[in-house]
């Protein structure tokens, strides 16, 4: 590439003596070096991975009539405390002792799956699905909230809602030292 036919057209018989033409070959090494350097730079700086997102649908709180009561026997309440710890109980607050747990496969996920099974065994028809109420306390972090929402999708819980925490539950978190 980048070279021209410099052999000249035809032969010059006995004409003037011409100086031999210089080759028009250009040394490309430096240019290619630079090109590769830039490629490397752009490859490293390109972010191929776009940010990911999770969907969150909040309940429509403007229409009071649309709010349906949930059966206590198939609702699981998860209270979010500080230090990435959560506690959960089934049914109504104060009736059963809450369990403090963390995240990971032996943490909340295991409990959710067990509770889902129990609800499916004790209920029939449309009521077989467990409902989860997520109550973040003021001391819980956003990371905990996202982690719990992520658990919902992992354990395939379809019905869940984020609800305001009550004072009784805050006190309970305090006694368990995760507030």
């Amino acid at each position: 590439m980048a070279e021209l036919d410099t052999s000249g057209g035809g032969s010059h018989k006995g004409g003037k003596v011409r100086s031999k033409k210089q080759s028009t070959r250009v040394d490309l090494t430096a240019m290619v070096d630079l090109a590769f350097l830039l490629i490397t730079f752009f490859m490293y700086t390109t972010t191929l991975q776009k940010p990911k997102a999770m969907d969150l649908v909040m309940p429509d709180n403007s229409v009071k009539e649309k709010q349906l009561p949930i059966a206590a026997s198939r609702s699981m309440t998860i209270l979010l405390g500080s230090h990435n710890k959560v506690e959960w109980y089934m049914g109504e607050a104060g009736k059963s002792a809450p369990t403090v747990t963390g995240f990971g496969k032996d943490g909340l996920r295991k409990d959710i799956i067990e509770n889902e099974k129990k609800v499916a065994e004790t209920h029939t028809g449309d009521e077989q699905k467990m409902e989860v109420v997520i109550k973040p306390s003021d001391k819980s972090t956003y990371e905990t909230l996202v982690a719990v929402l992520d658990e919902m999708s992992i354990t395939n819980v379809k019905i869940y809602a984020i609800v305001k925490i009550s004072q009784v539950e805050v006190n309970d978190l305090k006694t368990n030292k995760i507030y």
Binding site: P136, Y142, E143, V146
Partner: protein, 191 residues
């Protein structure tokens, strides 16, 4: 040599054309991980970044941002000259209260580096700066593109829930019940 050179330049052109300038996010929010894989749309989107108790606002569409600023200026009695509007059009993410907006838009490069953005004021009432930004951007988008904006929240991992709740509350008040939470992909999914 020729072939290698050609390929090198082809790749170079590709990478240069696909390169996007990195948007500096002043909220410094470190997003939490999740296992969800849904990509975030990069158009028609408002991102509310929440970090260290401050709220930052960004709209993908430049014309919507411009229209919203003009309306906000009218509402809060801060008139902007065309130069300031032009500078604002190029500001992707911002977290400045309206009273400081004029100062912020007249800063030079060095001033911008040292300027501490205090976040957009937000409270639980129906009429605060964040809710007005959201409302006016939505109205502007409706007028300009005849679409409703989508919202996403980019929260810092360590942000405490009340701040997040406040931001979600603003969206709820405007009957925006569906939005995205921006997360990073969990590196090693725990199974």
């Amino acid at each position: 040599m020729t072939a290698m050179c050609d390929v090198a330049f082809l790749l170079l052109t590709f990478f240069i054309l696909t390169a996007k300038p990195k948007v500096e996010d002043p909220s410094k929010a470190e997003v939490p991980p999740s296992s969800k894989m849904m990509p975030v749309a990069d158009a028609n989107m408002v991102t509310l970044s929440v970090g260290h108790g401050k709220v930052f606002y960004s709209v993908t569409e430049d014309d919507v941002r411009e229209a919203a600023l003009k309306e906000m200026g009218k509402k809060y009695g801060v008139p902007f000259n065309p130069e300031e509007v032009q500078r604002f059009k190029l500001t992707q993410v911002f977290g400045v209260p309206m009273k400081d907006m004029k100062t912020y838009l007249n800063l030079d490069k060095d001033g911008l580096k040292t300027f501490q953005q205090t976040g957009i004021p937000v409270d639980t009432t129906n009429n605060n700066e964040l809710s007005n930004w959201i409302l006016l951007s939505r109205q502007a988008n409706k007028a300009l593109h005849n679409k409703d904006l989508d919202f996403s929240i980019k929260g810092d991992k360590a942000e405490e829930y009340p701040t997040i709740d406040l931001v979600i509350g603003q969206l709820e008040k405007q009957k925006k019940f569906k939005f995205n939470l921006i997360t990073t992909l969990r590196i090693a999914p725990k199974k």
